[in-house]
Amino acid sequence: MGNYFLDNEDIQFLFRFLNLREIAQLQEQDTPNGQADYVPVDIDDAVDNYWRVLELVGEIAADYIAPNAERIDREGNRLLEDGTVELHPLVRENLRRMKQADLMGFTLPRKYGGLNCPNIVYSMATEIVSRADASFMNFFGLQGIADTIYAFADDAIKDAVLPRFARGEVTGAMVLTEPDAGSDLQAVRLRAWQDHNGQWYLNGVKRFITNGCGEILLVLARSEPDIADGRGLSLFITERNERIRVRHLEEKLGIHGSPTCELVFEDAPAQLIGERQRGLITYVMALMNGARVSVAAQSLGIAEAAYRLARNYAHTRQQFGGPIEKLPPVAQMVVDMRVAIEAARALVYYTSRVCDLENNNQRLLEWKADLSAEEKQQRRQLARTLRRLNSMLTPMSKYYASEMACWVANTAIQVLGGSGYMRDYAAERYFRDARITTIYEGTSQLQIVAAVRAAVSGTLESFLAELESRRFDDDKLANLQKALIEAKPQVLEAISFTKRQSAGYLDLVGRQIVDAAIILICGHLLLAQAEKWDRKRFVAERFIRSQLPVYRMCCEQVLSGDNSPIVVYEEIAGPPLPVS
C-alpha cells in the first residue's frame, strides 16, 4: 500500500507553500455547481478537498497504475482490422479505476459532474500519475480537451459532452498534426466543408495523434479553402464513428501505453466549436498552453520516478567496500538530479498557479454578472499582466521541465551503470518515456521561440523585479539573493546586445537567453521556499552555486556574437549528403 502523494514531501510542502486558499477562493467564486451534493462549505473545506483528492490520486497511482506499467510498456496496444484500436487490458483497467474514483472530470465545473479542481492541483495530480506510468498521463492528462470545450463550445455541445467526460465514459484527443503540418500548424490541410443544411464534414488525414482512438476528437481543419494561413482554420468536435478510421498505430521509442494514431476522415460529420477562423489562433493556442503545463508536470513525474530508483540504487549498491553513494561522482549525480527536479517543480507549480489566476480572472470577467465598472477595469488590467507573464512562464516550464526529465532519466541510467541499461530495471523505460516530452506539444525549440520573445519584451525584467523585492532576514539567503541580483545585468546586457544583431540572431541564441533567465527565476523561487523549510536552504544554495557559472556561460555565448550556424552553415555542416 503506497501513496505517491503522501511519500513526496516536496509536493506536500508546495501544496502548503503556494497558498491554495487564495486559489480556492477564486476557483469557487461564482462557479457553476448545478445540483451537486459535494460542494465545499467554505474555502478551507475546498482546500481540504484538494488534499484528499491528491491522497486518492497518490494511492491509485501507487497501488493500481504503477504495478501495471511494465507490462503495458512491453505489450502496448493493438490496431484491429476494422480501423479501431484495442487498448491493452491493463490500460482499460487503469481507466476503470480512474473512473471509479471520479478523477476524469478533474477540472470541470460541478455542474457537469467535475471536481472543479484548480490547475495547480491538476498539475500535482498529473505529476503523481506520470510517476506511476508516464504513458497513462496521456489519458489522465488530456482533460484540457474537456476544458477547451467548456471554454469555447456552445451550451448544447457542453451539455451533451462534458458530463460524459466527467463520468469517465469517454476520452478525447487533440487532432492537430498532419504529415506536412507538424510544428507549423498553419499548414493544416484537412478539409472542413458544409452541406446546404449547414452540416459540417471533415475530409483528410491526421498523423501522430495521441489517443486518436479516443471517442471525442477536437479537430483542426481548413474551413476557408481560400485562406492559406492560420486564419483559414477552425476547430471542430466530432465523435468517433465509422467514417473515421485509424489507419496506422505508430511504433514508438516510449510511452507505449499511449496509442499514437494516424487518422483518416472520410466525410465525417462534425460540429463547429466557437467561431469560424479562430480555430488555431484562439482555441488551439489556449488548448496548447494548458497541455504544455500538463507535459511539464508529466516530465516532473518521470524525473521523480527515475530519481527515486537511482537514489535507492546508490544507497544499496555496494562497490569498493561501501555503497556507491559514498563516491563523490555518484553523490554529485544524485544530488543534482534532486536539485534539478525541485527547481523545475518550483517553476512548473508557480506557472500552474499563475494559470489559475489568469483563467479565473478571465472567467469572472466574462461571466460574473454583477461586476462593477471599476472591478471590470481592474480585472482587465490584471488579465493583460497575467497573460504576458504566462506567455513567458508556460513555454519556459515546458521547456525546462522536459529537458530536465531527459537529463535526470539519462543520469539515472548512469547511476545504475550496466544495470540501468538492462531491461531488469525501469530506468531504461523512464529514459524512453522522458524523451517525448521535449518534442510533443511543441518542441523545446518552439518553446524557446515563445519564451524568448516574451523575455526580451520586458516581461522578464518586470518579473525579476517582483521576485527581487522579497526581503530576507536570514544572512545566508540574503547573500544568495544578492548574488542573483548582481548577476542580472549580464542577461539584460545579452538581451540588448541581441536586439542590435540581425533578426535571426534572437532565435539562434534564444536557448542561452532562456536558460539564463530560468536560472535567475528558479534561484529566486527556491530561495523563497528556503525561508519556510530548512532543507530547501541546501537545495537553493546548491542550485545557485552550481548554476550561476552556467548562467555566465550562457550570457557570454550570447555576447560573443558568434552566428556561424547561420552564416557558415554549409562550410561546417558540409554539402547535402547523397540520399542512400
Binding site: A36, D37, Y38, P40, D48, N49, R52, V53, L56, E59, I60, Y64, R97, Q100, A101, D102, L103, L115, D424
Partner: protein
C-alpha cells in the same frame, strides 16, 4: 432483479506492519501503537457486494460493531459506494468474543430486516479466527458458503459461486438468502470515489460527535454537552450525514449474551515468540541462481 446486500466490516490494528513497539511484553497486541485499518478481507466483501449491485441493482448496507472510532471504516464504506452504514456500539458489547459478536451482529441484521446476501470477510487480521461469519449464519438460520473466490451468477433466488478450499476449488449453488465469506483473492477492491469523499467526509456517528464535543468543551456541564451533541446531530441528520448508531437495546440483544458476560472464550496462556533473523542468502537473478535455489529447497525438503 435487484438484490439487497449486507456487509459486516471491522476496524482492526494493522498487524501486517508489526514493529517492536507493536507488541506488549506479555505478547498481547499494543493497539495504541498500531494504525487502525479496514480489515483487508472485509474490503473484498464490500467489493463483492458492490459488484452485485453493479450487476443486478439493489442496495449495499455496511455494519460494523466496535468503539465509536469504528465509524472510520464505515465512512470508508460510504466513500467506496455503500448506500447505508450502521455503527453498532455499546460499552456492554466491549470484549465480546466471536460467539458474543456473532450474536450481536445477528440481532443487528434482524433489526435491518429484509436482505438477500450477507457478505463477510473470511477472517480479521487481529484474531484470525474466521469464526464470526459461520457463527452468524448459524444464528440467522442461513445457509453459508465460505471462502468465496468468484461470484458466478445470481438467478432468481439461486446463487452460484466458486469457493477456494485451499487445495482446489468447487462450484457451489445455494438458495437465497445466504451468508457468504469472501477471501482476499476474490477481487481487487475499488478505490474511494473523490466526490463521495467530498460529500461524506463530514459524516459522523453520534458517539463520535459526543467525543468531539467533550474534547472541544472540557469545562461545559453535562447538560450543555448533551444540548450541543443534539444540535450537531440534528444538523448532520438534516444534511444526510448522520451515521446511524445502534446500541444493544436498539437491536433487542440480551446483555447477558454480549460483551464479557456473553463470551465463554478464556485466554489460557499467551506465548511470546520472537523470530530472530539469522543472516540471509542472496540469490542472483540468473538461471544458475534459480537452479541453486531449487536445489537448496529440494535438499531442505521444502520442495518435494
Amino acid at each position: 432483479m435487484p438484490y439487497d446486500c449486507i456487509v459486516c466490516v471491522k476496524q482492526v490494528p494493522d498487524t501486517a506492519n508489526i514493529t517492536a513497539e507493536a507488541m506488549n511484553p506479555d505478547g498481547t497486541v499494543n493497539r495504541a501503537a498500531l494504525p487502525a485499518i479496514f480489515n483487508p478481507e472485509d474490503l473484498n466483501a464490500l467489493e463483492a457486494a458492490l459488484e452485485v449491485r453493479d450487476r443486478y441493482g439493489g442496495t449495499v448496507t455496511a455494519i460494523s460493531m466496535g468503539p465509536p472510532k469504528a465509524a472510520e471504516v464505515l465512512r470508508e464504506c460510504l466513500y467506496r459506494g455503500a448506500d447505508r452504514v450502521i455503527l453498532i456500539t455499546d460499552r456492554r458489547a466491549a470484549a465480546s468474543d466471536t460467539l458474543a459478536t456473532s450474536y450481536i451482529l445477528s440481532q443487528a441484521i434482524r433489526t435491518i430486516g429484509r436482505f438477500d446476501i450477507v457478505f463477510c470477510g473470511r477472517q480479521a487480521i487481529d484474531g484470525d479466527t474466521a469464526q464470526v461469519g459461520p457463527q452468524l449464519a448459524e444464528k440467522l438460520g442461513l445457509p453459508q458458503i465460505t471462502y468465496m473466490e468468484e461470484l458466478l451468477a445470481i438467478d432468481g433466488d439461486r446463487i452460484r459461486l466458486r469457493r477456494n478450499n485451499g487445495h482446489g476449488w468447487e462450484i457451489v449453488e445455494s438458495k437465497l438468502p445466504i451468508l457468504v465469506t469472501v477471501i482476499g483473492t476474490a477481487n481487487v477492491p475499488r478505490p474511494c470515489a473523490a466526490k463521495r469523499i467530498m460529500r461524506f467526509k463530514r459524516a459522523r456517528a453520534e458517539a463520535e460527535i459526543e467525543a468531539e464535543v467533550r474534547r472541544q468543551m472540557p469545562n461545559a456541564s453535562e447538560e450543555e454537552i448533551q444540548a450541543e451533541v443534539a444540535r450537531r446531530r440534528d444538523e448532520l441528520a438534516a444534511r444526510g450525514l448522520l451515521i446511524e448508531q445502534w446500541d444493544i437495546t436498539r437491536i433487542g440483544a440480551d446483555p447477558n449474551r454480549c460483551g464479557l458476560a456473553g463470551s465463554p472464550t478464556k485466554v489460557h496462556r499467551i506465548q511470546s515468540i520472537v523470530f530472530s533473523k539469522k543472516g540471509y542468502t542472496e540469490i542472483p537473478p540468473t538461471e544458475e541462481g534459480i537452479r541453486q535455489l531449487i536445489r537448496e529447497l529440494v535438499v531442505d525438503r521444502i520442495l518435494g
